[in-house]
Amino acid sequence: MDELELLKKDWGKQDSTYKQLSTNDIYPMLQKKSSSIVKTLFYISIGELVFWILINTIPYFSSDSYREKLDAVYSNDTILVGLTIISYAVILLFIYLLFKSHKAISVTDNAKKLMESILKTRRVIKYYVIYNLVMAFVSMVVGLYFSIIHNPKLSETISHFNQKQLMMTYAIMIGCVAVFVVIIWLFYKLLYGLLLKRLNRNYKELKKLEV
């Protein structure tokens, strides 16, 4: 006899072996909190949004002199104001996309569609992280450049550099910022890699069936 047929024959007889729960056992279960990956993913995405918004706004509120400087710059620089408006519009766009993709996750979809919806949400978070890392990289490089230019001592030292030394200085500067950004990126890769390891493996297995 086929192995699975033998198993099927026995499988049907197993019902009486399970410990039967009464309605009184089931009611308290409904009050418990879920620990599904979707819930964890939701909390992480909220964390991402809050974290990057705080990173951008804390310096503004924590130092009076910094705020005054920024206010002065902003009142004279329409490009900077425009960029700030765009960056907040991007955050709003990500909030909308995250909300939409989270709403699309349904446990009653078929297995493949459910996995795809979760992976789509993860992609939105990934793009948000990439966007922030690119912005962080650009603003740190530009920030460092301007702080050197506006620091009399440093600009005096640099003015004595030859072409090669100057290139080296900029390369080290960009290299340090790049390493910092890559470390943060690797942290995210690890975090999502661990959380979605099983899902990715199962999704690949389902995709393999289509080849």
């Binding site: 086929d2 192995e3 699975l4 033998l6 198993l7 099927k8 026995d10 499988w11 197993q14 019902d15 399970y18 410990k19 039967q20 729960l21 009464s22 309605t23 089931i26 009611y27 279960m29 409904l30 418990k32 909190k33 879920s34 620990s35 599904s36 990956i37 979707v38 964890t40 349904s106 446990v107 009653t108 979809d109 078929n110 297995a111 493949k112 569609k113 459910l114 996995m115 979760i118 959380l195 099983r198 899902l199 493996r201 199962n202 297995e205 389902l206 069936l209 289509e210």
Partner: protein, 164 residues
């Protein structure tokens, strides 16, 4: 209204609880893990219940939510033993372990099914529950042809495990 909804849900769940037990049996290997997964499937069913319109049978709906929770949503709690670590590890029987008696064969078969990966287990589960290939393909999101092909491969895999 909510109380009524809760009451009808609990009654239905009590009647069909063996579906969840069977999913847990395939995807866990100890008592704590079984209870943990049972709990998570119950929560997912309850969360989805207000949208259950009754256009499919409650049991059919349970199969889908139960398997989706086990394969995709469930994050093992720290206290449960990770059965998935054995995935992909070639499971071979020693010749002396093999016994022709049906009981021994069944024991070995259950052990072999436990060594299958998550997707293979889902297909086997639906097969054991006497679901046809149309329902298997709809639950998993694959074509009927691919479901058949995969089931044949699983049968071959089980044969190899049992007759190394």
């Amino acid at each position: 209204m909510d109380k009524e909804l809760e009451h009808s849900f609990v009654e239905l769940l009590e009647q069909h609880q063996n579906i969840i037990h069977k999913v847990c049996r395939l995807y866990t290997n100890n008592y704590d893990a079984h209870n943990d997964l049972f709990q998570e499937i119950t929560i997912q069913l309850w969360k989805a219940y207000p949208k259950f319109r009754g256009d499919s049978k409650f049991s059919t709906w349970m199969y889908r939510v139960g398997l989706n929770t086990a394969i995709t949503l469930y994050r093992k709690s720290k206290r449960t033993i990770n059965t998935q670590d054995f995935d992909g590890v070639e499971f071979k029987m020693k010749a002396e372990d093999y016994d022709d008696t049906e009981e021994q064969q069944l024991k070995t078969l259950y052990k072999a099914v436990h060594e299958l990966n998550d997707i293979e287990k889902a297909l086997v589960f639906l097969y054991l529950e006497d679901k046809d290939y149309r329902e298997i393909s709809e639950t998993m999101g694959i074509s009927e042809v691919n479901a058949r092909v995969k089931m044949n491969r699983i049968k071959t895999k089980l044969k190899t495990i049992l007759n190394p």
